[in-house]
Assembly symmetry: C2
Homo-oligomer: 316 residues x 2
């Protein structure tokens, strides 16, 4: 842990001021049906209504605004094909910087269109060669990598969602967010420990990719589960070293959830709240349901991290 | 016209006070993407986030609260299988009144579940015999019919959405709402003429069921189009006599929209705003797009009337 650069509440506060002109202060949603079912207050932070449809805009904008002039002039690159790719393209457009996204040839047209819509260049490659292709661009073109989660400026930006939630609802008993690479949960944990020291921190993780859960159980970061099948496509990444360190330090807890529970939760949001919440984000409701009676009477903050989906899960 | 009972702004104001404890003051949505495309300000009134997922809660609650004791004790009935059925069941539950809904045997399970969820009784019948079955119940059981739109208390309740919109955004140049039976548009027109006399009033109607459009063109109420195919399943009803009279008096205008345009608009809401807007409601965006350059620089209010859908149109 000692060797890793840490992130503190002041970094989150500075990030919040920095990104404010470019991101939404997203609304909070409460559902009477949900609160009655769970027997507690649940404040859902609607990052699905954020710029580019996900909290990722916060971290990417913060990281790109913090680049020095030379790095911004050379441009940024990433190899995500999900929400971070669109977020980085958006952030680069704000800064007037070039953005390159290395993307598998078979990435969905809708994702390619989102990235191109923000003026980024797409470099297609075979799925297995994404990192190599990305590294080549960094070397040849002098691009700066903005990692989707293993980057302290990205983590600080991601934490601003929880910062807003705690400003709006100060006395939270528990904060829950999905966990993939862990940037959102780590950033949230920093905000929680600074502003609501006794508040619990829970990460919702699909059983199919339970590396974070096993990492916490063993105390050693476990390898990513490769080739896993989950409807929560945004959470297939393994937890990063920086985020694992932050989350252990701040005593987070991981709750795993099955595919059926994730689907049921995504359906709940769509049909009851009329909000598009992507399955990766619906994991938080599945996890709350799993925690069950432990939640009675509590005041809970839940981060609905994104709303980008092709609805292919709707028929199941 | 003279023989029809009229509805005025005082009826809307009284309805607003009456129903306030039981319905949401729904939020307004603005989309920068949409406003840039249309070159105007568009304030979308999110009745898809209303109780029971549609503006219908407003009219049904108003009508049921206005029943005298004897009528409330005997119970209410309707033969809609759509949003009005769930709304009436909800309203009756508030009043502690019995509610019966005559529904075709082949009505979707999701609609039956919604009505039953509010404690109403469903009387199944063959599709063609709905009205006859309903009349039988009125005679035999002394039930009171709460018509989905041809009822001045329902119209007054429906108009409260526009009333709120005009309170929040006073200087509207144009208000647009979908038109089926015409209750929502007629109620809106009453609010507009009282509070923003020069504001235009536009009804969005599917080309496939263009009876309102033809009624306005000919000056004579035209018969419903039977057996029409439209994705806007909430707008298959023909315009009612009461609402036609109100809308002519207040100089409304009808814009028809094709199926492809409705689908495109419904997709826009789902993928860009992350809001579930049913195709019937998406007609307002399709109509705004059709009005095109006429809208430049205007301030527009658009009522997103509901968010209840099974997404069967998503694959098209």
């Amino acid at each position: 842990v000692s060797g890793l650069p840490q992130v503190g509440i002041d970094d989150l506060r500075a990030a919040a001021r920095r990104i404010a002109p470019y991101v939404h202060r997203t609304p909070l949603l409460r559902s009477r049906t949900l609160e009655r079912e769970l027997g507690c207050e649940v404040y859902c932070k609607c990052e699905n209504l954020q710029k580019v449809g996900a909290f990722k805009a916060r971290g990417a904008v913060n990281a790109v605004l913090l680049l020095d002039e030379a790095a911004a002039a050379a441009g940024v690159v990433t190899h995500s094909s999900g929400n971070h790719a669109a977020a980085l393209a958006y952030a680069a457009q704000i800064r007037g910087a070039r953005c390159t996204v290395v993307m598998p040839e078979d990435a969905p047209a809708i994702k390619r269109a989102a990235v191109r819509g923000y003026g980024a260049e797409i470099v297609p490659c075979r799925r297995a060669e994404r990192e190599r292709a990305c590294n080549e661009l960094i070397e040849k073109r002098g691009l700066t990598l903005v990692h989707p989660f293993e980057d302290r400026n990205v983590v600080a930006g991601a934490g601003t969602a929880a910062l807003e939630l705690l400003e709006d609802v100060p006395e939270l008993d528990l904060l829950i967010a999905p966990i993939g690479g862990g940037g959102l949960l780590a950033g949230s944990a920093i905000a929680v420990r600074a502003l609501a020291p006794t508040c619990g921190i829970v990460g919702a993780e699909p059983e199919a990719v339970d590396d974070a859960s096993r990492s916490f159980q063993t105390g050693v970061r476990q390898p990513t589960v490769h080739g896993a099948q989950t409807v929560a496509d945004g959470l297939m990444t393994g937890i990063g070293a920086l985020n694992f360190a932050i989350l252990r330090q701040h005593e987070a807890e991981i709750v795993t959830v099955g595919e059926a529970a994730i689907l049921e939760a995504a359906h709940f949001f769509l049909f009851r709240t009329k909000l598009v919440v992507e399955p990766s984000s619906a994991t938080v409701l599945a996890a709350l349901r799993r925690l069950g009676p432990r939640l009675r009477g509590l005041r809970i903050g839940a981060i609905l991290s994104g709303g980008n989906t092709d609805f292919s899960w709707l028929a199941r």
